[in-house]
Point group: C2
Chain length 144, copies 2
DNA sequence: TGGCATATTTAGAATAATTCCAATTAGGAC
DNA sequence: GTCCTAATTGGAATTATTCTAAATATGCCA
């Protein structure tokens, strides 16, 4: 019997074979693990290069496919800044993004407890909000 | 030294020859007027088609050039939703965007008086915010 | 006013992120 | 194992946008 194993029987204990309704193939696992390991909001191409360390044979098309699947199943968020390449974020807690213009680093920022964004806005009464996307650019204070 | 009267260009009375430091060529004027006339956040291509009604000979490259110039001089805002084509907005009052998923219409939403977005967020003390971009998706209540 | 430097416009080519396609490979059920 | 479907793959296609290089317009100054 000569069959190369693409995974799916979950031998290494990292993930179950199915996560959030998504079958965890070897490729999806690699892509997902890349995003869990370094939460620096990499682009698809960043993810591709990092995933290649885990799996030499993975293709860029597959990375795009995996990212799409992970996003659709709610395991990962796709984050866009202006017209730049999309970035990907495995932080599922509600947060917004702060783009530090000095360092280029993208930070996850949470709302203060009890904060209700909609209270700040002149939205017609009864408006149903399904998604909020907030990006802030600026500079963090000097660390000392 | 820029004198108030820029030498008798400005034949059609709509704009002075220079606005916000930007020389108002016939093409820039047409593009800007398109954005002032209908504030429905058109794409560059929408603007191109509308500008052609005013000026048959205008090119798409010029529309992109004009939009860039208008944005750089702060007369127009460039608005991005996900990976969709950029949209352009001549509303200079501070506002955020509400994308009505039922109708596809993009509405300008203002903050309530005195609202301070930064108060809601867990930003490190002393953080300097230079730009905020907020997009909301959802559905407006039924009109009756 | 005409000459000159510079800015702007233009058509079309180039770019780059992303998507699509068609062929292969893998996984799971039986 | 067989069969069916899902996933992967390399490469081509797409598309908004940017770039290029040539033509044109504008502003300035003698
Ligand atoms: Mn990317
Ligand atoms: Mn456009
Ligand atoms: Zn994030
Ligand atoms: Zn707007």
């Amino acid at each position: 019997m000569v069959s190369r194993d693409q995974g799916g029987e979950h031998t290494d204990g990292e993930f179950p074979a199915v996560v959030g309704g998504l079958r965890m193939t070897k490729q999806r696992r690699a892509v997902y693990q890349v995003l869990l390991d370094d939460r620096d909001h990499p682009t698809a191409n960043d993810v591709f290069r990092r995933a290649q360390d885990r799996m030499l044979s993975i293709s860029l098309a597959t990375v795009y496919n995996c990212l799409e699947a992970l996003v659709e199943h709610g395991l990962v968020n796709q984050v866009n800044f202006d017209r730049e390449p999309s970035r990907f974020c495995s932080n599922l807690k509600e947060h917004v993004h702060f783009h530090d213009e000095k360092t280029g680093v993208i930070h996850d920022i949470t709302f203060k407890p009890g904060a209700k964004l909609e209270d700040l806005l002149e939205l017609p009464k009864g408006t149903e909000v399904t998604e909020v996307e907030l990006t802030i650019r600026g500079m963090l204070p000097k660390q000392k």
